[in-house]
């Protein structure tokens, strides 16, 4: 923690895990390199926890994602609340069967006799030069699976509050962390405070256009809204927080008011979360729209390595700005 009380995103995750483990002995953590003997996690998110709670509850695992996810699912069915750390989001592909065929579906397939209260933490994001297999934003895949909840945070305080709720939630929840944000500092969340799942946050009220986003772009859109205000355009910024199930009421109420919407995410645009939200807006509010809904996402391409390519791949803030200017006529 720095002098001014601000803490980093990674420290905030650590605080959430610490508070959850202190509150319930049913919370366990599994993942690669997570115990202190292995460095407390490659991003230090679990630092100190194995020392405090023991290596029975904070377990470093082999590099074996199916084993990690299976262990989390089984322990969850038997009454535990495991937090499984899958180091990078792309590694979820290695345990998709466990997550999609089992974690997400056991509640329904058992008629509610079992349920799987696991939280799966993973990091990802382009911009640090990890290339094609460590950077993808795959949230749309999981949002498409009935039974999964998908959550992402836009700053350290949000991360803590949302992670605490994810751990308490009775459904399997995928908690996506942005690798570019771990060092980002922000105001801490008060001890014991939580942020409910399924509720979007209106970060800034506006009357001309609604910008719907989540994760890393949220802070950028806050700034953009400030700029637009200087140009006489009043933008409302919504942080979805929970991507699935998403807070449709908050989104539709906002767009009903503004008549214009832009959806911004780092994931590639094609078949992404933006497509779903855009469709819902068109289906419900077509007559109220003053312009077609616009989506801004990254390019249809594997995440490239070379820095100029990586930057060119990423969604463009300029495109958001230009789209809004165009909508305003």
């Amino acid at each position: 923690m720095s002098k001014d009380g601000a803490i980093s995103f990674a420290q905030s995750i650590n605080q959430a895990l610490d508070e959850a483990m202190a509150a319930s002995d049913k919370v366990m953590i599994f993942g690669e390199d997570i115990a202190d003997a292995q460095g407390g996690g490659v991003f230090k998110a679990t630092s100190g926890l194995s020392t405090k709670y023991g290596t029975g509850r904070v377990r470093t695992t082999p590099i074996a994602e199916q084993a990690i996810m299976g262990a989390a699912i089984g322990a969850a069915i038997a009454g535990y609340r495991p937090v499984a750390e899958i180091m990078f989001m792309n590694f979820l592909t290695v345990c998709m069967d466990q997550l999609v065929n089992h974690a997400a579906k056991l509640r329904f397939m058992s008629g509610g006799k079992t349920f799987v209260p696991i939280t799966v933490r993973c990091t990802t994001g382009a911009g640090v030069g990890f290339g094609g297999q460590h950077s993808d934003m795959l949230e749309a895949w999981f949002a498409h699976v009935p039974g999964m909840k998908v959550v992402t945070a836009s700053n350290p305080a949000e991360a803590k509050g949302l992670l605490l709720s994810a751990i308490e939630d009775d459904d399997p929840t995928l908690f996506i962390e942005d690798i570019m944000m771990y060092a980002q500092k922000g105001e801490p969340l008060a001890a014991g405070e939580k942020i409910p799942l399924g509720k979007a946050r209106v970060r800034r009220e506006g009357s001309d256009v609604t910008v719907i986003t989540y994760g890393r772009p949220v802070a950028q859109m806050d700034k953009l809204a400030e700029e637009l205000a200087g140009e006489g355009i009043s933008a409302e910024v919504i942080d979805l927080r929970t991507i699935a199930p998403f807070d449709e009421d908050t989104v539709l109420n906002s767009v009903a008011k503004t008549g214009r919407a832009v959806i911004v995410h780092e994931a590639i645009k094609s078949f992404g979360v933006g497509a779903e939200i855009s469709s819902r807006i068109h289906e419900e509010l077509f007559a109220d729209l003053k312009a077609p809904v616009k989506r801004v996402g990254s390019k249809y391409c594997p995440v490239p390595f070379s820095p100029p390519l990586e930057q060119a791949f990423l969604y463009s803030q300029d495109e958001v700005y230009a789209s809004i200017r165009r909508m305003m006529g």
Binding site: R57, A67, G70, A71, A75, A76, I77, D97, Q98, M109
Partner: protein, 327 residues
Amino acid sequence: MATKEDLDIETLLEIYRRSMRVYKTDERFRQMLTSGKLRLVYYPVRGQEVLSAAMMAALNLDDYLVTTYRGVHDQVAKGIPLRDLWAEFTGKVTGTCKGKGGPMHITDPATGVMVTTGIVGAGLPIANGLALASQQSGDGRVTVVCFGDGASNIGAFHEALNLASLWKLPVIFLCQNNRYAEHTAYSAGTAAKQIIDRAPGYAMEAVRVDGNDPIAMHLVACEAVARARAGEGPTLIEAMTYRMLGHTFGADFSYVPAEMQEEAKQADPIPLFRALLAERGIDAATLEAIENAIGAELDEAVEHALSSPYPDVDELRIDVLKEEIAA
């Protein structure tokens, strides 16, 4: 080495009771499918009844079971109520899972049936998690996960056995080697001569046993259960058996050579078990009474299933998430 005489007659009769519960359930499913009274994809378990019964008789009701879509013998031998099972197989709201899971996903925590998966090999990593919960809470439960010889070739098998051994989990990996992975013979799909040959690579205790021999199978099961309960870690059991019918009911299985089909017939565990009981002084009337009681339970279960209602379509919005989905 334990011998035949180590098993008392009460235990033998208990295994026989469980075996017949499986045998008659399987027989009734096939009869009703043949007569057209039932329509579903069914995976017959004829030939594997005694193996399951001898394993499950070594467990308590609250010990955990994870099995597969070809696992009705495991569920019935574990003690699942037949009426709930039949109602689920017929898609009725009175079923174990309100008809929402079906035959491939039978779940009944009251009898320890925690997961039935339709994905080959996927149960093994989940069984580790159940066993981990027991290890952590000290509740003394043992987890048994059943799978076939074919499942030993998928990656989840490797990941699960390694982790179970590393963490000394109270789990038993019961490989029911029926010599066929769907339509593919053991030797055409498995490089290892025996499944247990893989265990040393995981520093795991392993034993190969004639699964059709109730005494041998039960003694091996008891030893593995004792090891798990004592905190001494997992066991891989390779129980040799035969699948006497095709992978799915009604499908041609001429791919099984005539000699092996004959071998399977000779090894049919049900008549052999009856002969063993006769040798131990059990008269025909005792066996008949057991079978009649199961027959009556089965009649009632089938009647209950057929007369039960289907689930309401509102069930589509329930159990997806904890919160009901809006209509």
